[in-house]
Symmetry: D2
Subunit: 360 residues, 4 copies
Amino acid sequence: MSNSYGKIFRITSFGESHGAAVGVIIDGCPAGLEITTEEIQHALDRRRPGQSKITTPRKEEDKVTILSGIFEGKTLGTPIAMVVNNKDQASKDYNHIEQAFRPSHADFTYTAKYGHRDHRGGGRSSARETVARVAAGALAAKLLEQQGISIRAYVSQVGNIKLQKPYTELDLSQIDSNIIRCPDGQTASRMIGLVEEVRDSLDTIGGVVSCVIQGVPVGLGEPVFDKMHAELGKAMLSINAVKGFEYGSGFEGVRMRGSAHNDQFYTDEAGTVRTRTNHSGGIQGGISNGQDIYFNVAFKPVATILQPQQTINASGEDITLQGKGRHDPCVLPRAVPIVDAMAALVLADFLLRQQANKVQ
Amino acid sequence: MSNSYGKIFRITSFGESHGAAVGVIIDGCPAGLEITTEEIQHALDRRRPGQSKITTPRKEEDKVTILSGIFEGKTLGTPIAMVVNNKDQASKDYNHIEQAFRPSHADFTYTAKYGHRDHRGGGRSSARETVARVAAGALAAKLLEQQGISIRAYVSQVGNIKLQKPYTELDLSQIDSNIIRCPDGQTASRMIGLVEEVRDSLDTIGGVVSCVIQGVPVGLGEPVFDKMHAELGKAMLSINAVKGFEYGSGFEGVRMRGSAHNDQFYTDEAGTVRTRTNHSGGIQGGISNGQDIYFNVAFKPVATILQPQQTINASGEDITLQGKGRHDPCVLPRAVPIVDAMAALVLADFLLRQQANKVQ
Amino acid sequence: MSNSYGKIFRITSFGESHGAAVGVIIDGCPAGLEITTEEIQHALDRRRPGQSKITTPRKEEDKVTILSGIFEGKTLGTPIAMVVNNKDQASKDYNHIEQAFRPSHADFTYTAKYGHRDHRGGGRSSARETVARVAAGALAAKLLEQQGISIRAYVSQVGNIKLQKPYTELDLSQIDSNIIRCPDGQTASRMIGLVEEVRDSLDTIGGVVSCVIQGVPVGLGEPVFDKMHAELGKAMLSINAVKGFEYGSGFEGVRMRGSAHNDQFYTDEAGTVRTRTNHSGGIQGGISNGQDIYFNVAFKPVATILQPQQTINASGEDITLQGKGRHDPCVLPRAVPIVDAMAALVLADFLLRQQANKVQ
Amino acid sequence: MSNSYGKIFRITSFGESHGAAVGVIIDGCPAGLEITTEEIQHALDRRRPGQSKITTPRKEEDKVTILSGIFEGKTLGTPIAMVVNNKDQASKDYNHIEQAFRPSHADFTYTAKYGHRDHRGGGRSSARETVARVAAGALAAKLLEQQGISIRAYVSQVGNIKLQKPYTELDLSQIDSNIIRCPDGQTASRMIGLVEEVRDSLDTIGGVVSCVIQGVPVGLGEPVFDKMHAELGKAMLSINAVKGFEYGSGFEGVRMRGSAHNDQFYTDEAGTVRTRTNHSGGIQGGISNGQDIYFNVAFKPVATILQPQQTINASGEDITLQGKGRHDPCVLPRAVPIVDAMAALVLADFLLRQQANKVQ
C-alpha cells in the first residue's frame, strides 16, 4: 500500500468507504498558514454527493473535524490531522456484492492482492477516499493562493460533447455557475442533458476534466524524474476512474512539425520572458517557465450501472449482478474539485521543494 | 533535483550530455540475478545514435562499464554502478547557444532554476540522460523475464500516420524488423518516408509509442497513490519530449457508456479469472488483474530544428538562432527502448514491493 | 517536520498534548493480521499515566479507537488509523508557561523554528506523542510474535543504581512484577526508593532502559546506511529525553582488544551457526546474525521540576518559573513500553524489507 | 540494501572493496557551490591508508574523479558523481577467507542474506566504502562552512586511555598535529604508544571519537522522528565498527537530578538566547538551540587480527584462521574524517530541509 503523496508537503490518506471514518494527515505544511474549518469544508462541499440532480442522491454531510496541527487559527508546522466520519453508510445495499466481483471494479484485484476485503461500498477502492485529498488540497490551495497561484479545473467533455474553445476563450469564473461545472453555458446545458439521458437509461458516461494553473513562478519542478508534468500526471492518474493525462499540445501535438510546435521566446514590455505560443503547456524540461500550465484528464464511465451484468463470484462461478444503491451517472462534476485538490498538492510540494534547492 | 526512481528497485541517474560520463546506480536489485555486460550493451545499442539513416548521424559507441554490484556474473545485492563515457562530444557545435535560450528547450528554465547551466548539448536536460535508464532497465527486464513478464514497445504513430491495428492483431516479434520500429511493415514504410521528408525539409515530427506488457501476475500496483498506471504514467512522462499518457481505453474511452465499457469477468477452462474485453488495460483499482497491460505515450516533435528561429539570449534580447550539429528528425525509433526500460523499472519495483506486502 | 517512520511498515504520528487527539496511521501493515482493540489497549495501558505511585498522577484513560484498516478482526492491507482523544487536558496548568521558555524543554526551539507554538503541555514536543508509537507498536509486535520474535525492555539503571546482572541472568518474565519494571526484585526496590526520594525532594532523575530481542532470523538489516543497529539507534534516540544508545559491547567494548572482543563462530548440534560470545550484540555488518540483539538507551532526568528555576520569557527577559501540574519524577517505568514499541516498529519494517530483497 | 542517506542533500554510495571502483552520487546539492577537486581530495587524504606508522601500510592513492554535476568550478544543481578507482587490490591476500567466516566480520551475515558475496577484502562490508562518505562530506562541509558552521571530530579515547578534558578546554586547531588526531599532545603520545604496543602484539584496540559542531543556527532538526540527535546517531552508527552514540550529557547524565541537569536560559549582551550550561548538547526537542552540538561515538576494536582464531567455514566446519594482509591496529585516527563527513552530511541535509519549512 502507498497512501502517502508528496515529498515535503506530504499527505497520508486513510479510510474505507463504509468504515468509521475517512481522513488525512498533512505532514510538512509550513507553520503560520491561516486557515479556517470553513475553508476546508467549502472544498469538501464541492465534492459532496447529493449536490445536484445529476449526482448520486446519497446524503452525506461530510463534516470535517480537525484533530491536530492548527492552533489559534494558524498551522503549527506539526501534522494536521483531519477526519470525516462516515454517516450514511447504507451498508445493506452492498450485501449482494459481498461474494461478487463487480465488472471493472477493484473487487477482484483487492481480493487477490490482500486475501480479503471490506466489500461495503468498495471499501478502500471507493472514490470516497478522495475526501482526504480534497480536505488536504484546501490547505495546499490556501498556501498557493498566498503566492499568487490559482488552479481552476472544469469539465471540458462529456461523452461525445466536447467543449471546442480553448481555456483562453473561457470565463473561468463561471465554472460553478452550473451543475456540470463547464464554464461555457451552452455546452454545459448539452452536457447536462446527456447525463440525464444516460442516467435515465440506467447507464453511465465518461468525460474529460481540463485544468489551468496560473501565476506559477519560473523554476518549479524537479528533473529528471519528478518533472512538473510527470508529478501532475501521476497525481491525476491516481484519482479513481482516470485513464489518461496530457498537457500542453498533448496527443494532438504529435501531428505537428517542430517548426510549428516550438514556442518562441520574447521579452515583454515589463521585461518578463514569455513565449508567443504555449504548446509547452507552461513546462519545459520538467520545470515551469512562467506561462500558464494546462492539462487534460480522461475519466472513464462509472463502472456501477443499474443494469444486470454478467460476472463471477468469489468461487469463480458465473452470476448475474445488478447495481443497487445510489450512484453517479457521471463523475465529472464531482471530479472537478478532486483535480483541483491534486493539482494544489503537486504545486505546493514543488513550491516547498524549490525552497530546499538553495541556501538563503 | 530528483534523480532517483523506484521504491525498492531504485535507480539514481547522473551525467551531463557533454560532461565526462553518464551513468546509473541501481540499489535494491535482488542478489543472484545472472546478467552479462553484453545483455546490457544490447539494450543500449537499440538506443544508440547513428543506428540508421533516420536517426542522428552522431557516432557514439555508448560502451557500458560495470563498476560494482556484479561478481562472477551474478548480482551481489549491493549497488550496481554502470558508467558510459561521453566520447563524441563535439562541444564546439554548442558555442552558439551558450548565451541563447533555444525555443521549447530547457535552456531558459534550467538557467532560471539553477542560476547557471552546462549549455553543451543541453547538459543534464539532454535525452542523453536516458542512457542511464536503458542500462538500468536491462537488469529490470532480466528480472521480469525470469518471472515470465515481457514488455514490448513499438511506434504506433508518426505525425498523421497512425497504425490502425490494435496490438492484438500485430506480430510483436517484428518490432525490430525495420528502422522505425513499427511491427506492421506497410505502415512502417510510410512512417519512414514521412521522417525522411521531414528531415529533408530541415524539420522534425512527433509520434506515439505504444507498449504491451504480458505475463504480469495479478496483484501488482500499490493504491491509492502508487497505482500501477499512475507509476507507469509518471515514468513515461519523465522521458524527454513526452506530452501524454493513456492506458486501456484511454481518451477515447470517455465517449463510451459504462454498459459497453465494463469488462465482464469469466473463468476460463484452466480456472483462471479473465475478462471478456480489456478496456481496463489490465489494471483495476490500480492493481494488475492478469490481463495484458497496454498504454500509449505521446512524443512531441524534436525541438532542435535546422532552420532559423526567433528567440532571445540570456540578456533578454531578440536573436535569430539556427540549429547546428547532428540531430534526430524524429525521436520515435530511439524512444522505443527507453519506453521499454521505464516500463521494466516500474514493473520490477512493483514486483519487489508486492513481496514486502506479506510475511512468508 | 518528519512524523513518519519506517520504509515498508510505515507509521505517521500526529497530535498535540492538549489538542483534540493524538493518533497514528500505519501504512504497509500486511493484510490478514489478526488483532483486537484489547491487544492495542493493553500496550497503551502499560504506558498510561497514573498507573502507580511513582508516575504522574494525571488520570487519562487513553482509550484507543480504530478508524480504518481493520475489518472483521483482521488487517485489510489498507492504512490503519487509530485515535486517542485527549481527555484530562487541564490546560490552565500551563497558562504560566505561555510566554516562558522552560529550561531544557523545547519551548524555545519550537518557537524559533515554527514562529509560534501550542504551549499547552508542550504541545507536539510532549512525550504524549508516544501514545501513537505504542499503539502502532502493538501491531508490529503482533506481527513479530507470529514469526517467533520477542522484544523485552526493562529498567536497568535509575540514577546511580545500576543493575549489575546481564540480561542472561535475569528472568525477563518478571519485568512487570514491580512498578519500576526492573526484573530483579531487590534492585527494583532500591530504584523505587530512589524515585520516591527524588519525587519528595521535588526533583527528577534519569536512568537506562535495556532491551533484548530474541528469535530474530539471520539476515535482517539493510547496509550500508540502514544497518540494524543504526535504525534501532535512530528509533530510540527519537524518543523524548533519550541521550544515548549502545548495543552489544557498547561504550565499554572500546577498552577491549580485538582478540578478546571477537565472537568465534561454531556450529551447534542442531547445525545452526552460533557465536561463543556475543559482543556483537546479535548484529554483524548491520545484519542480524541470529544471536540475541541487546542494547541500552539512556534517558535524562525529566526537565519539569517542581522547584523555582531561572529562565527567560519570550521577550528575552529573566524570569523565575516554577513547575506546576502533575509530572513524572522519573520516566523510566513508562519508557519501557515505548522502547518496546520502537524496537517492534524497527524489526517489523526490516522483516518486510527483507521480503522485498528477493523474488519468490 | 539501502545505500542512500539524506532527504534533500542525498547521497548514494556504491562499490566493493576490491571491485573496479568505489564512489558516490550526491543528488540535491544546491547549484552554485564553488568546489575544487583538491578540496575533495584533501578530505580523502585524511582518510587514506598508509598515512602514518599506526595505520595500515596499504598504499592506495584514492584519487577522486568527478564525472558530473560540476561545471566551471561550480555545482550545477544536478547529480554530482565521484569515483575512486581501486588500485592496490592485492586480492590474493583474501583467497584464504573465500570459504571462511571471519569472527566479528560480516562474512556470515552477508552470505546468509544475499546467498553469495564478494569475499575479497570484505567486499561491500569493508570500511573502504567510507571513501564515498568522505568525498560527499567534503561538499557538505563546504556548504556548511559558507554558513559559518564548523565540524571538528577528534580521538578522545583509545582503550583505557581517555582524554579527561572537555572540548571547551582543548585547542581544536591541533587535531591534525599528531597521527592519532587527539588535540591534547600528552594524551596523544600515550594513545600512540598504546596503539603501537597493541600492533606489535598482533592485536587491535577500540576507542572513542568525539565531535563538536559550532555555529549551527537555531532551528535545525525535524521532530518527531528525524530529530537532530536521532539522525546524527543513525549516521554515526552506520559507520563500520561503531557500537554506541551519546550526545550532550549522554550516559553519564542519567545519574544527575533534573535540578542540576537543566540548562538555564539567559539573554546575552548581544541579545542572543543562550544557556548557562549545555547538558542538552545544543539540541532541545530534537532541534538545535544555537549552542554547541557535541557527541561521542564508540568504535570497537578492529575485527581482523594477525593471530590464529577459531571459526567455521561456509560448510559449518571448524577451522583455524589467521589474518593476513595489511590492517589497522586501531581505526580511530582514520575514523575522524569519516565522523566529520557524516556529521556534515546530516547538517547539510537539515539546513536544506529547514529551507523547505517555509515559503519565502
